[in-house]
């Protein structure tokens, strides 16, 4: 019996060591075909955020921003997707600032219906928890996030690198519920937006928040984001959203493939025209 148990334990310890080695080789660097494309993108941005960036401006943001700013693999673009949460944007920015003291401006590019992404969303486990919850990033995880994890304790299992490669099953933080309250900021967005601002202030960096083009439909549906604007005013966050709503460019529905992401044909144009959109001023 003892021999059996020792062998079983030895087998799993060895398996864990081998898996850790593979994970440490595959996840941060290689081209892991075994990982899904979206999952890979997040890891790629984390790696990029730790490298030297030859610019004084960096961009962080959602998948629409990623369509525009990462159109030609722009090196100073750390845009990714909204499911990495504002916490993910914060960690990417922290890494970039730490490795690039020349940075003067951080531009958060996100459409209003994504800037508010809440923790209780289906894709958050794969896009935020798996790639960002690491020993290295523990310093960025505070009681606020742990209180979220406490509702899904299985999240804690993915802390070691090896376990990120284990199929611990997808966790649906939304628990099958459809997304709602898309026109108000979520608690996690507000919490990490304030932390992001503090980080920028502490490093004497300007933080700008802008939006990629949005569908006209949403303009009408949300009454020009009335709820969100009221919320921002009530929370005294106007200083962060200066001209954010005013500068949103609304486009007709036919420019979007799913009401959110721009059609490929239009992307080229919008990439070339991004300066015309008054979205940014390149430094």
């Amino acid at each position: 019996m003892k021999i059996f148990l020792i062998k079983i334990i030895l087998f799993f310890v060895l398996a864990f060591i081998i898996l850790s080695t593979i994970a440490n080789l595959v996840i941060p660097s290689g081209k892991p075909a075994i990982l899904s494309e979206q999952w890979y993108n997040v890891y790629e941005r984390i790696v990029r955020s730790k490298k030297k960036i030859d610019s004084k401006t960096i961009y962080i943001g959602d998948s629409v921003a990623d369509q525009i700013f990462n159109f030609k693999k722009t090196r100073n673009s750390l845009t990714c997707n909204a499911a990495i949460l504002m916490a993910g944007h914060y960690i990417l920015t922290y890494n970039a600032i730490e490795n690039n003291p020349q940075i003067e401006t951080v531009v958060l590019v996100s459409v209003p219906q994504e800037i508010n992404t809440k923790f209780e969303r289906k894709q958050v486990y794969n896009n935020f928890t798996l790639p960002f919850f690491t020993f290295e990033n523990l310093k960025h995880f505070d009681s606020f996030l742990y209180s979220k994890f406490d509702q899904f304790p299985r999240s804690y299992l993915v802390l070691p690198m090896a376990s990120k490669m284990l199929p611990l099953s997808d966790i649906d933080y939304a628990q099958g519920k459809k997304r709602s309250d898309r026109d108000i900021l979520s608690d996690v967005s507000i919490h990490y937006l304030l932390k992001l601002n503090d980080l920028c202030v502490a490093n004497n960096i300007e933080l700008k928040i802008i939006s990629p083009p949005v569908s006209e439909k949403l303009y009408k549906k949300t009454n020009n984001w009335k709820k969100m604007r009221t919320q921002i005013r009530e929370l005294n966050l106007d200083y962060l959203f200066v001209d954010y709503f005013k500068n949103i460019r609304y486009l007709s529905e036919d420019k979007f493939k799913d009401g959110l992401h721009l059609k490929r044909r239009y992307l080229q144009e919008s990439f070339l025209d991004r300066y015309k959109f008054n979205m940014i001023e390149e430094k």
Partner: protein, 492 residues
């Protein structure tokens, strides 16, 4: 609880430790632990249906003892019928009620008559067909004086509900499994190690072979009317491997798990896709069911038929052949129905019956032909052709098994036989990956086909052996489908 779930990965070590470290000195305690664990395992799915397992066990426990005590033939018969009534009553109600009601309505309307009957919203209890057959064999064996009943109620209840094989077999005979519950069990290192190997191989077959193939197969069968014949043909072949990986994988995990607790369950699969004819296929596929059907349906029916034919020949056909044909037809009609309350399953069973009858009738002719052509039985080309031929016959039947209804099955056959068979198939990236793993499975199992299970590699060099374990494990980790897909045979 599914074998391929996190819950089971936690449940198994807990039960194992309690079994060998806490209750190991007392056989009764060990059996109580197994009984509780088995009820937890089953109740994890739906605790309400535990009552069926409980009632079925209780009825057969009482009836078994009373059949033994009773000497009068009539009373013994009444008791046997009581057991059949309760067990088949549960099975009939939960599994076949709606099927028969619908079929009656269809039959009446076919003759222009209206028949009013209500179908019920019935949930099919997982594994009901398996444990019903297991308890039935116990009572039938006592009735036939082939087995003495047990008075140890805990041992009997544990035998009926033994968690490794409760929901999808192997369908154990009381004569094999029950005595193992009444004898002191010792931890056997070699058995336990080989059990772990068998579990690993079973999981590989389930999550890598079966569940990956299922993704493609489900999609194709769902849109079968828009797919070309070439794609449907590939889907049919992939389904053959899906169901093999799924069911034999389950059996391997079940047998391996039982071995960890010192039990030896019967073999359920013996590399069936290397069979050279249909009879061999059924000697190697779902062995516990085919032997059950042979002993309790085929042989009694065949002998009964032969006894009814008093002359050596009837209509110039030997009585023995009549016995075989009637026995096989009846057995496979019911065998098909056992799998599910759908006409596709009945047709699937009948087709296998037909295969077996034709194979039996042409046996002498085939032998003679080979002798005339001077081809040896073990000629590799012949063996290859026979193996491929058998596999294709089995795959044709699988289409019936997998189809939603008979219409869909025939439409699939039609499309496969059409010109669209020569079109480029609609394949996605993962199918290629599935194909690679299926080739690996076939080659490896062919090499290991003389063994009890494919991963019986204890004689390999230590480094090669452990490297191979890790290889199989990591293929599972990286390429397995971990959506906790239910085992196909759970529905039966």
């Amino acid at each position: 609880m599914l074998f391929n779930s996190i819950e089971f990965a936690i449940f198994l070590p807990i039960v194992f430790v309690l079994y060998w470290f806490v209750t190991n000195k007392n056989l009764k305690l060990q059996n109580i632990l197994l009984l509780v664990a088995s009820y937890v395992f089953y109740g994890w799915w739906d605790w309400r249906f535990l009552s069926l397992v409980f009632v079925s066990s209780l009825v057969d426990y009482i009836i078994g003892i009373n059949i033994e005590k009773t000497e009068k033939k009539l009373n013994r018969k009444i008791l046997l019928f009581a057991s059949l009534f309760v067990n088949l009553g549960f099975l009939g109600f939960f599994k076949y009620y709606n099927f028969f009601v619908d079929s009656f309505i269809d039959a009446f309307s076919f003759f222009g008559m209206q028949f009013q009957a209500r179908t019920l919203n019935i949930v099919l209890p997982v594994g009901i067909s398996f444990y019903t057959f297991q308890t039935l064999s116990y009572t039938l064996d006592i009735y036939k004086h082939r087995l003495k009943p047990t008075e140890d109620i805990i041992a009997f209840f544990s035998f009926v509900s033994f968690f490794p094989q409760l929901v999808a077999g192997p369908i154990e005979r009381a004569s094999n499994l029950l005595p193992q519950f009444t004898k002191k069990r010792k931890f056997d290192l070699l058995q336990a190690k080989d059990g772990m190997r068998q579990i690993l191989w079973g999981l590989f077959k389930k999550i890598v072979i079966a569940d990956n193939a299922a993704t493609f197969v489900n999609e194709i069968f769902e849109k079968s009317d828009t797919m070309p014949g070439s794609t449907l043909f590939i889907a049919a072949i992939l389904f053959a491997f899906q169901i093999y990986g799924d069911f034999s994988g389950y059996s391997d995990i079940a047998i391996g798990t039982a071995r960890l607790f010192g039990f030896k369950l019967m073999r359920n699969f013996a590399f069936p896709y290397f069979s050279k004819d249909m009879a061999e296929f059924w000697r190697t596929w779902h062995i516990s069911l085919s032997t059950w059907l042979r002993d309790y349906l085929f042989l009694p029916t065949a002998y009964w038929t032969m006894n009814k034919i008093k002359n050596p020949k009837f209509l110039s056909i030997k009585a023995e052949v009549w016995g075989y044909v009637v026995g096989i037809s009846f057995t496979w009609f019911l065998g098909g129905l056992w799998h599910g309350a759908k006409w596709t399953f009945v047709l699937w069973g009948c087709l296998h019956g037909l295969y077996l009858v034709v194979s039996h009738i042409t046996k002498k002719f085939r032998k003679k032909t080979l002798r005339k052509l001077k081809i040896k039985k073990k000629n590799p080309v012949l063996v290859f052709i026979q193996t491929i031929g058998t596999f294709f016959l089995v795959t044709i039947a699988w289409v019936l098994f997998r189809a939603e209804n008979v219409g869909q099955a025939f439409s699939i056959f039609n499309t496969i036989l059409s010109e669209s068979f020569f079109e480029t198939p609609n394949l996605k990236g993962k199918v290629l990956l599935s194909g690679i793993f299926i080739i690996f499975l076939v080659v490896f199992e062919y090499i290991q086909r003389k063994k009890e299970h494919a991963l019986e590699i204890q004689k390999w060099n230590l480094i090669f052996r452990w490297s191979f374990y890790f290889f199989v494990l990591f293929i599972g980790v990286f390429f397995g489908n971990f959506n906790e897909v239910e085992f196909i045979y759970f529905q039966f």
